[in-house]
């Protein structure tokens, strides 16, 4: 297997605070990797730098040997990175279908017209939202907005999909569907890097975990091994338990 | 010449600082960009003029009438016009656009009323228009009084905001509107108070301006712009920033008028403003936030 994403020495400072401190890890093609850590450990900041939302203060990010660190988000998107956001970001003045068409029309596929519409409906079908295609996006429930956001990300046919707590807030049934959905992506050769707090989902989905605490990487390895790493236990449960 | 320019610049700057403090309270705490702010200033200027010319009440006493009136106007405008907009706003951006458009409307209404009552003529009155010798140059006593009033009012406001619990609560809302309720601050009440206080400062500024400048029913826009320049230069919600930025703007204007060309004063003002918006939108003294 070859590396799809290679991050080395990635650093981000906000004023005096170092949110991400020299983090290095890589993600192989076709893998599902979880980025874990307590709140405030810098996970979302890492995702933001990969997708280009934030420029790194230092370090590099490479996508299949091509440097993408510091590029603008639209260029990174065109290179095959798609994402969802921690606080779901729908486009409220558009319909659900148009939300998906937005990434079809401007992504590397440049679909438009009837072709885009057909493709958008197919993507919505995948996440179980096709029946709402022509509703206004602002009328969707929270869960459906998350589905729509995933459909939008999938429509870009990304090589690398970044999911920022996409499973948070789902009920048990929805969670099961959600996990199955992500699992099905694996079969299609999509590489996934996800930030997640739902541990059952992480165990069910991920081949590997990268664990962060206070901006630093503290563990990296196969899921069970990484989760039982003493530093990880300390970070999650507090120093007294170690 | 230098001392004269310096003194005139300080007088002008003190006035700008006073006026800008009100706007920075309104925008920083109540989160309303009040584009009718200059019209509130000019209304107070006309009030002072009427009080002095028709009733013989001197502007210092006029201030005691105008400032509470401005407070009341701000309080009512916030309660009637702004609160419904705040309540229905889905996000910060839609509130911004709504409040800009609504206060634009208010701008035209107030300006129209002033035009109907006072016409479009330049207005001024003579109060304490005698020369006083300061550091070897002559300056009109009314200008000196204007400077003193601006400093006293500005200083008083600063003390009020930094030394009282009430002021601290207002500043807390400016810094963290989302977490202020967690410590028992009523954000809605704070916003209304800040807006009203801003109205009082606009009125005070208007009285001060009327003492030494000519004004017309349509000159409000210029004051809004200048107050905005000072607010953005000083950093939104930053009282000390507004004070220093006001003085800087007053000095720059006076120096451009004295040494370069009076015709370029306004152009210089707008030039500074546009430059700051582009290069330091967080203000000269502010750090870029997040």
């Amino acid at each position: 297997m070859t590396d799809l994403l290679t991050i080395s020495g990635l650093t981000r400072r906000f004023g005096g605070l170092t949110a991400v401190d020299a983090v290095s890890f890589s993600v192989n093609r076709g893998e599902v990797v979880a980025l874990l850590g307590p709140n405030g450990s810098g996970k979302t900041t890492v995702l933001n730098m990969i997708s280009g939302h934030l420029p790194p203060s230092g370090g590099t990010i490479a996508l299949s040997d091509e440097m993408i660190s510091g590029l603008s988000p639209n260029r990174i998107a065109l290179k095959g990175v798609a994402r969802t956001f921690q606080l779901v970001r729908g486009l409220p003045s558009l319909t659900v279908a148009e939300n998906v068409i937005a990434s079809l029309a401007f992504g590397h596929r440049k679909l438009w017209g009837a072709a885009a519409r057909t493709e958008a409906l197919a993507r919505l079908e995948e996440v179980g939202l096709a029946h709402r295609a022509d509703q206004s996006a602002q009328d969707l429930t929270y869960i459906d907005q998350k589905r729509m956001e995933l459909a939008r990300a999938l429509a870009a046919e990304p090589e690398l999909l970044l999911l920022d707590e996409w499973l948070a807030g789902l009920n048990p049934t929805e969670l099961r569907t959600g996990i199955e959905l992500i699992q099905s992506l694996k079969g299609r050769g999509i590489t996934v890097l996800l930030v997640e707090h739902v541990m059952d989902a992480v165990r069910a989905l991920c081949d590997r975990c990268v664990v962060m605490n206070a901006g630093r990487k503290i563990a990296d390895g196969p899921t069970e091994k990484a989760l039982s790493h003493p530093d990880v236990v300390t970070a999650y449960l507090g120093g007294g338990h170690a | 010449m230098l001392v004269t320019a310096l003194l005139s610049g300080l007088v002008l700057g003190g006035t700008y600082a006073l006026v800008a403090m009100g706007l920075t309270l309104q925008y920083g705490i109540a989160r309303i960009m009040n584009l009718a702010y200059g019209e509130m200033i000019i209304s107070a200027a006309f009030l002072a003029y009427v009080l002095y010319a028709d009733a013989g009440i001197n502007p210092v006493v006029g201030l005691l009438i105008a400032a509470p009136a401005g407070f009341l106007l701000g309080y009512v405008v916030y309660g009637v016009m702004m609160r419904p907009l705040v309540a229905r706003a889905k996000d910060k951006a839609s509130l911004e656009i709504d409040s800009i458009l609504a206060t634009f409307g208010l701008l035209f209404v107030i300006q129209g009323v002033l035009l109907v009552i006072f016409g479009a003529n330049f207005t001024s009155y003579n109060y304490l228009n005698v020369a006083v010798d300061v550091f070897g140059t002559n300056i009109a006593a009314n200008r000196l009084l204007a400077l003193v009033m601006a400093l006293v009012l500005g200083g008083g406001l600063y003390m009020l905001l930094t030394r009282t619990l009430w002021g601290t609560a207002l500043r807390a809302v400016a810094v963290a509107p989302a977490s202020a309720p967690l410590v028992g601050i009523n954000v809605d009440k704070a916003a209304r108070m800040a807006f009203a206080l801003g109205g009082a400062l606009a009125a005070a500024g208007g009285v001060v301006i009327s003492m030494y400048q000519t004004f017309t029913a349509t000159s409000g826009v210029v004051f809004t712009m200048k107050a905005l320049i000072v607010v953005i230069m000083g950093g939104v919600g930053n009282i000390l920033g507004a004070l220093s930025a006001g003085l800087i703007l007053g000095l720059v204007e006076t120096f451009v008028a004295t040494y370069i060309d009076p015709g370029l004063t306004l152009a210089a003002t707008y030039g500074i403003f546009l430059a700051i918006l582009l290069w330091r939108p967080a203000g000269l003294f502010g750090r870029a936030s997040r």
């Binding site: - | 208010l106 152009a267 403003f273």
Partner: protein
């Protein structure tokens, strides 16, 4: 679908052609009125082209309008008329590109204030230049252009603006603008070059506005900065587009026609209360019709239809 489209196009062509014959019947006053109205229809439509979907409230309308008018005034004696229009458009495009490039990072209140300040700055600079460099404040424009000629040019420009606005609304770039208006971060993550799209549309919109100023300039015969850069032009354009609904093709038109006539009537009969009524209209639109007349009518129509369906026995859920 295809037939509806060709019907729409045919209707558009017929309306424009019918309007082209209007000067044959109209009185001189009627023609003057039509010129003013067409001017504002074009301004409001061009304004909405950029500001409607992106929600960037621009008050720079008069900056470009004035640039157009002033360019014609300055070069009216040294250039052929068609060249005048070209030069105006080129200057407008240049200024729009520079300004657009500089203001891409500004949003919300800052953008509004910047555009307002820009118009004032340009007016101050032109005034200063005229007073100090040329020694005169005003300029006379003597051009062999008849009112009919101005009318036809404006009609052509209005038709082109509509066609552009229609085309943009159906194209990818139209969707890109809407996505940007909703969320610039999402737009960029969808692969949209946000800066380029905004800049392109701002430039197109501003160039059209410049041309409106340039074409109307000969009507004045005398121009000075206070006339050419009168901020009321920006305010009226804004409120017209908002009244009709800045997000729809015909919204600005529906706002511009009644408001133009209203203000024309007001300035003739109540010149002193003009500003008060303008202000009250602003406030009324914000409170009653925040998304424009068209959206308001559509919502109520839908509600009414739904109501009607529900009252039919057996159909109610």
């Amino acid at each position: 679908m295809k037939s509806v489209l060709s019907l729409q196009v045919a209707l558009f062509v017929v309306i424009v052609a019918a309007l082209a014959f209007l000067p044959v019947f109209a009185s001189p006053y009627g023609l003057t009125l039509m010129i003013g109205m067409l001017g504002y229809v074009t301004l409001a439509t061009a304004w909405a082209l950029f500001s409607g979907p992106t929600r960037y409230v621009s008050l720079a309308t008069v900056a470009f309008f004035g640039i157009g008018a002033y360019t014609v005034a300055v070069f009216s004696e040294s250039m052929a008329y068609p060249l005048l229009l070209l030069v105006s458009a080129a200057i407008g495009l240049l200024v729009a590109s520079v300004v657009g490039f500089a203001t891409l990072r500004l949003a919300g209140v800052y953008f509004v204030i910047f555009t307002f300040g820009l118009a004032e700055l340009i007016r101050q600079l032109v005034t200063w230049y005229e007073v100090n460099m040329t020694g005169t404040l005003g300029r006379y424009i003597f051009l062999p252009v008849t009112p009919e000629g101005i009318y036809w040019q404006l009609l052509g420009l209005a038709a082109i603006t509509f066609a552009i606005s229609w085309g943009v609304g159906r194209s990818r770039i139209g969707l890109a603008l809407k996505v940007i208006g909703d969320d610039e971060v999402v737009a960029a993550h969808c692969g949209i070059n946000v800066a380029r799209v905004k800049l392109a549309l701002f430039a197109v919109s501003s160039t059209i506005i410049t041309l409106v100023g340039a074409i109307q300039a000969p009507r004045w015969t005398y121009v000075e900065p206070v006339i050419a850069f009168n901020p009321t032009v920006s305010f009226l354009t804004l409120i017209m587009a908002l009244l009709g609904g800045a997000n729809r093709l015909t919204g600005p038109l529906l706002g511009a026609v009644p408001l133009f006539l209203l203000f024309e009537w007001l300035s003739a009969n109540f010149p002193n209360h003009y500003s008060i009524i303008l202000g009250l209209l602003f406030i009324a639109i914000v409170f009653i019709l925040p998304r424009g007349v068209l959206a308001f009518a559509e919502e109520n129509w839908k509600r009414w239809r739904r109501h009607e369906v529900k009252t039919v026995p057996g159909v109610a859920e």
